[in-house]
């Protein structure tokens, strides 16, 4: 059943992506100021949205775990967090490429990019934390607490770095604000396949996590008894 869901999600993602790519590359005109490379925004921004959504979902799952103690929630949390980390990395990479092409430098301390970097480090810490705990129940509990802390911190990080950059302005990758409606539509339209892809990846990872857990239990049983 799970496999079917994964296949359907991936298939849909591929279809929508193919359609979007066609529109992006062949239908939409180049952006006035930044030229062809501006199209990277259709991946750069939705990747960030997907990552942030993932962090939030992980925190919610973590809270459920602490309340219900069902390890399913923990598997969901780690799966979604890892997927979100991948999308955050994609956001950082596309941002850096864009900056390199537009400004000639790899890193400009753009507020959003900087905030995403801090978040990436934070959640990379989540994965390291999990590695450091042997017992799955303890691991779930500790990771859940961390996930909640991290998620509460995310908006505070974004706000503080944005304010910091307002006081000390630097070149900005994408100022936001006004943009052609066709571009806005494509931004949201391309979010869909990224979300679908994210869901598929998370589902795969979640299944792997649950099987891993069962395996560990069997191994322990064999040794202990």
């Amino acid at each position: 059943m799970r496999e079917k869901v994964i296949i359907v999600l991936s298939g849909l993602a591929a279809l929508v992506l193919a359609h979007n790519l066609y529109v992006m590359l062949l239908v939409l005109p180049d952006e006035a100021a930044q030229g062809a490379i501006f199209r990277i925004i259709f991946f750069h921004v939705p990747a960030a949205w997907t990552a942030l959504l993932g962090f939030l979902a992980a925190a919610v799952a973590s809270a459920f775990y602490l309340a219900r103690k069902n390890l399913r929630y923990d598997a969901f949390a780690v799966a979604v967090t890892e997927t979100a980390l991948a999308f955050a990395a994609a956001n950082l990479a596309t941002g850096m490429i864009w900056g390199r092409i537009i400004w000639g430098i790899w890193w400009t301390w753009d507020p959003r990019l900087t905030s995403m970097l801090v978040c990436w480090l934070l959640y990379a810490g989540y994965l390291m934390l999990r590695r450091a705990v042997e017992d799955p129940t303890q691991r779930a509990r500790i990771a859940a607490v961390f996930s909640i802390f991290a998620c509460v911190d995310v908006p505070i990080v974004f706000f503080s770095i944005r304010w910091w950059r307002t006081q000390h302005p630097q070149p900005v990758v994408w100022g936001g604000g006004s943009m052609d409606p066709a571009y806005w539509n494509m931004l949201f339209a391309n979010w869909a396949p990224l979300l679908l892809l994210g869901a598929a990846l998370a589902a795969i990872r979640m299944r792997q996590e649950e099987q891993q857990r069962r395996l560990e239990a069997l191994r322990r049983q064999a040794h202990a008894w």
Partner: protein, 249 residues
Amino acid sequence: MRAPAGERAIDGEVGLRDGGRRPSGWLRASLTVVVKDLRAELRTKEALNASLAFSIVVLLLFSFAFEPSVEETRALGGGLLWLVFAFAGVLILNRSFARELPNDCLDGLLASPLSPAALYAGKAVANFLLLMAVELVGLAVFGVFYNAAWTGRFWPLMGVVAMGTWAMTAVGTLFSALTVNLRLRELMLPLLVYPLLVPALLAAIQLTGPLALGQPFASDMIVWLRLLAAFDVIFTALALALIDAVLVG
């Protein structure tokens, strides 16, 4: 329900003898923990000495490496001070729950009527006091070697340093509890805590910059003060809410 010790109290439920007890107080329990931690640390002075030595050495090294002028000190002073405080703080925070590991003392504490929240609060306050002491020494050294008139705006500076230090100890004490049983504990604590503290450190740095040189900060800096205060409140509340889940598995 109350019966002299040695006699059985019959109460329908299991008779709980009152072994000469007073009603429990959250505050008193916390205070017991504060005193215990401070006493233990002041006896061995392990973390305190490491912390002090580290602060002084880094401040000195930085002044050798960069020989900052007055303008440069003004620009970099806040950042330098808080980097030093953050690294020195971790040395103290790591010790915080780690001192409960030998002889399973943590179990002894958790099995007692002491609530995990009171334990956390007591340790956070003890860490706060220790770190503030280290920071005061750090400020004195900074004043001497960087010719900084940090006593110029003493009370505002103390206020900012206290709020920033509380942010570190509120979060750091919880994470000390979180990482106490982990492999590579000394490494995990800073790796997890620093990214989390970025907003608080940023705010503290912006505010301390001018204050450490005896100058007032600009009015548009008030937002940093609010951010720091909000950070302190939010994360203290979160820590108090989650400490039970962290300590009792």
